[in-house]
């Protein structure tokens, strides 16, 4: 078993070393450190806490990247063998479940830990800049490493359980969203429930649930390390519990791998003909829109489920508000409005990034790009049709975000102004382009690179985007025209498209054509 595991481990490390993209991602992380340093310098100049500001940003970004990209990276560890039909071959070669899970996950974990390690020396600049101690830095890196190990093994569990990479990523992603949103939602709910409405046992569970979940929360732990260092130790329950949970996930994955793989294999290669449970409507006039909507994003059943989930979330907020304030009101007020908006916007962001990074990649994975290139559809038409298919799928999240914004406008704008919402929308469109582009070059690095590039691009794009409407207004006034916000935003949208989206779109088109010819 040792030789098999070592062979698989060494092979994946070598492949990682030979591939350009892991090095690009590591380089991007180093660049991110430099950029964040410059940002912290300008942001906190003149204070004694530049180092703290710098390190806080680094930690925040790392948590985001580990949570978003780690899930997609690790949830395919075993399913990529299932997708390729090679899991059975590995088992035939005498590899035990432990050898497979170790070999497939350890190499990925090591290369991910290397991404953290590459940042550690740079992070010590924070000590020099002031506001943070070296002990705090090390404790924070340990907390991040523990979070990475937990995410890796939880995603490995999904990968071992699910039959395909898509399902594994969906389950792991949903679990992560639930993990981050559940404490806030539960806390708001329990605070709003009048005493005596629920049995004490249920109320106790609801009251303790956020705290229990937050024990392993990296955000809470980093906040504790950086802002309350005197009252916390080097290792905390977050570190220990994360490793324990990770070990449990790994053990379950290993013990159940054979049985789950057998089930998946039986389902896949059943003796009789495979039929679909739910019928799919006839092909639309835009065939690739139809294909992406129905066969990539889940079609009408998923669309309906997402729409109904949107209703359920809104109804839950309205109900909590009614219980809390004692009056029925469909308009969400105070914290309820922007919390609901935050939930919808988060779901929309995750959905858009996942679809953008997976839609074109799904064609490459099935080797269908040259087959569809042979049809009379042009490359631009193919790309637009695919984008349209994914856009239909995100309509429920768009609808509920817009609905919440429109209905609970006052509450939402207490936290963020309209300009920020527009910038977020533009950044989302930009990030989706970046994710689509990276998915044509790299299999798993697309999402982390998208997060990093979007982080840098935010500072480049947001400034002009927020400034241009004012400039347009001033020009209008000097020429005796009445300033129009809509006109100003149209100019901004055009500028953003011309200088940021159009080059990306042309790049995506050219790369797609190149891949279609391979």
């Amino acid at each position: 078993m040792i030789s098999g595991t070592t062979a698989l481990f060494v092979w994946t490390l070598r492949a990682d070393n030979r591939s350009v993209w892991p090095h690009v991602v590591r380089g991007a992380f180093a660049f991110m450190m430099l950029f964040t340093l410059a940002l912290a310098w300008t942001d906190a100049f003149g204070t004694t806490r530049i180092g703290l500001r710098f390190f806080e940003t680094i930690c925040g970004l790392n948590i985001l990247i580990i949570s978003v990209a780690g899930i997609s990276y690790f949830s395919t560890a075993v399913t990529e063998e299932k997708d390729a039909g090679t899991l059975a071959l590995l088992q035939l070669a005498g590899m035990s479940p432990l050898a497979i899970t170790l070999g497939k996950s350890t190499s990925r974990l090591v290369s991910s830990l290397m991404l953290l390690a590459v940042q550690v020396p740079f992070s010590f600049l924070a000590v020099t800049l002031g506001g943070v101690l070296w002990q705090q830095l090390l404790a924070a890196w340990c907390a991040l490493a523990a979070w990475l190990i937990l995410v890796a093994n939880a995603a490995l569990l999904c990968s071992a359980r699910c039959a395909t990479s898509g399902r594994a990523a969906a389950v792991a992603g949903s679990s992560a969203i639930l993990f981050f949103l559940l404490p806030a939602v539960t806390r708001t709910t329990t605070a709003a429930i009048p005493p005596g409405l629920l049995p004490n046992a249920v109320l106790t569970i609801l009251t303790n649930l956020p705290g229990a979940l937050e024990i392993v929360s990296p955000y809470r732990r980093i906040d504790q390390i950086l802002n309350d260092w005197q009252n916390t130790g080097f290792f905390s329950s977050q570190f220990t519990l994360s490793l324990l949970l990770a070990a449990t996930c790994f053990a379950v994955s290993t013990l159940r791998l054979t049985a789950w793989a057998r089930n998946a294999s039986d389902t896949d290669s059943q003796s009789g003909p495979a039929k679909r449970r739910l019928p799919v409507e006839r092909c639309w006039k835009l065939p690739l829109t139809w294909r992406d909507f129905h066969f990539y994003t889940g079609g009408w059943p998923f669309f309906t489920m997402k729409f109904l989930a949107g209703i359920a979330v809104y109804a839950a907020f309205v109900a909590i508000q009614q219980v809390s304030t004692g009056r029925w009101n469909i308009v969400l007020e105070n914290d309820f409005g922007w919390t609901a908006m935050l939930v919808y916007a988060s779901v929309l962001t995750v959905e858009v990034l996942l679809y953008a990074s997976g839609s074109l990649f799904s064609e490459l994975r099935q080797s269908t790009q040259s087959t569809i290139a042979m049809t009379p559809c042009s490359a631009v038409s193919i790309l637009l049709q695919k984008a349209a298919g994914c856009l239909i799928a995100v309509l429920p999240a768009v609808f509920w975000s817009m609905f919440t914004l429109a209905v609970s406008h006052t509450s939402v704008t207490t936290l963020v102004d309209m300009d920020t919402i527009v910038v977020w929308g533009l950044m989302l469109i930009f990030s989706s382009h970046v994710a689509a582009l990276f998915s044509l070059y790299t299999r798993w690095a697309a999402l982390p690179l998208t997060v990093l590039v979007s982080f840098f691009a935010f500072f480049v794009i947001a400034g002009p985007v927020l400034t241009i409407p004012d400039v347009v207004d001033r020009i209008a006034i000097t020429h005796n025209y009445r300033p129009s916000r809509l006109f100003a935003w149209t100019i901004t949208a055009f500028w953003t498209w011309l200088f940021t989206l159009l080059p990306l779109q042309l790049w995506i088109r050219d790369q797609w054509i190149k891949l279609s010819r391979q």
Binding site: A274, C283, P287, L288, R291, F295, Q366, A373
Partner: protein, 355 residues
């Protein structure tokens, strides 16, 4: 109904309205072998002076050949010989560094969209939406080719009948066997009713039954007037199936012409195959003793009834047969010993993998 199975038809339309091919496009050998083809025939594929290099590696070097319409044309060569590269250039996916490709007289470089409508390309790898049903998959490609719903309904039924997949139209592709998936791929290629089919290794990975069934379908396609350009490694089947063949090795064409000419051509005196109905002890000595016989051998794994005879210099087949009849042998068959395509292939290609 274009795809109904029909009796054998071997008429070759002469496209008088289309530009004439250069005089040397259709080799003399092909014209002699196929009397229905005239000099006015526009080749289905004409490749001239095709050269292409990938990162310094010369994949194709001055490749020229032509494929006549309504024929089954084999394309063989060792791995890395340049078959797939040539195929991808013919189907407009790849632009050659040098040389021209014309499909029914249209230049692929200048008229790529028009050319794509006339060809159906089946790549050498599975490229299928496995989560669709067979009918959905064909419906998808029918729509992509701009067919109306009525046309799609009709054509899907036709191609499924032709490929014997009618009973599996509502099955998910992921649940089909490899052979059936290959049939679905073939059905997909036929959805927009192309005149020319480019099939890159369609039989690879198929079991013998699936291969034989696939070859039957290809014969049927030729009968209904399609031109089929097929690359394959299974030479024995190609020899029976194809009218013509192009052999390519290390990016260069070694032979292009009728299959019969390739299999019959040899530098030595032709060999004749004799088969008896019963085993006769000592018969080989009697045959050897005949004045017109230079050499007699028994083929490997022979049952004692088969003999390969090399006649004496200048002796024709008729003369040899006459001598055999003089022995009053229980003859089952007597005919020219054809070379196997494997032998021709080995003679034409070089050992080893190109660097």
């Amino acid at each position: 109904m274009r795809f109904q199975k029909t009796p054998a038809v071997r008429t070759v339309p002469v496209a008088v309205h289309q530009p004439q091919p250069p005089q040397d496009f259709v080799p003399e050998s092909q014209l002699q072998s196929m009397p229905a083809i005239t000099r006015d025939t526009v080749p289905a594929i004409s490749v001239s002076g095709l050269s292409h290099a990938f990162r310094g590696h010369q994949a194709l070097s001055n490749v020229s050949f032509c494929v006549l319409p309504q024929t089954l044309h084999g394309f063989v060569g060792p791995n890395g010989a340049g078959k797939t590269t040539t195929m991808r250039m013919i189907c407009t996916l790849l632009q050659p560094n040098r040389g021209e490709v014309e499909i029914f007289g249209s230049n692929v470089r200048q008229n790529a969209p028009a050319v794509r409508r006339r060809i159906g390309y089946m790549p050498d790898h599975f490229s299928m939406y496995r989560q669709m049903t067979v009918a959905e998959y064909l419906d998808f490609f029918g729509t992509a080719y701009g067919l109306t719903q009525q046309q799609r309904d009709r054509v899907i039924g036709d191609v499924l009948t032709l490929t014997d997949m009618e009973g599996r139209r509502n099955d998910l592709i992921s649940g089909l066997s490899r052979g059936m998936q290959q049939r679905v791929s073939l059905a997909r290629v036929l959805v927009h009713d192309p005149d020319l089919l480019l099939l890159d290794e369609p039989a690879s990975g198929l079991d013998p039954r699936a291969r034989i069934e696939l070859m039957e379908i290809l014969r049927e396609l030729r009968r209904i007037g399609k031109t089929v350009f097929i690359s394959s490694h299974i030479l024995s089947e190609l020899a029976d199936l194809c009218d013509a063949v192009t052999v390519i090795d290390r990016g260069q064409v070694r032979y292009s012409g009728p299959m019969d000419l390739l299999l019959d051509s040899t530098d030595q005196q032709p060999l004749w195959n004799l088969r008896l109905t019963t085993v006769l002890p000592g018969i080989i000595e009697k045959i050897k003793a005949l004045p017109g016989v230079a050499e007699v051998t028994e083929p490997e794994f022979s049952s004692g009834r088969d003999f390969i005879i090399r006649p004496a210099e200048g002796l024709t087949g008729n003369d040899l047969l006459r001598e055999m009849l003089s022995l009053d042998l229980p003859l089952a068959s007597f005919g020219l010993q054809r070379r196997h395509l494997n032998d021709a292939f080995m003679d034409l290609t070089t050992r080893g993998v190109p660097a």
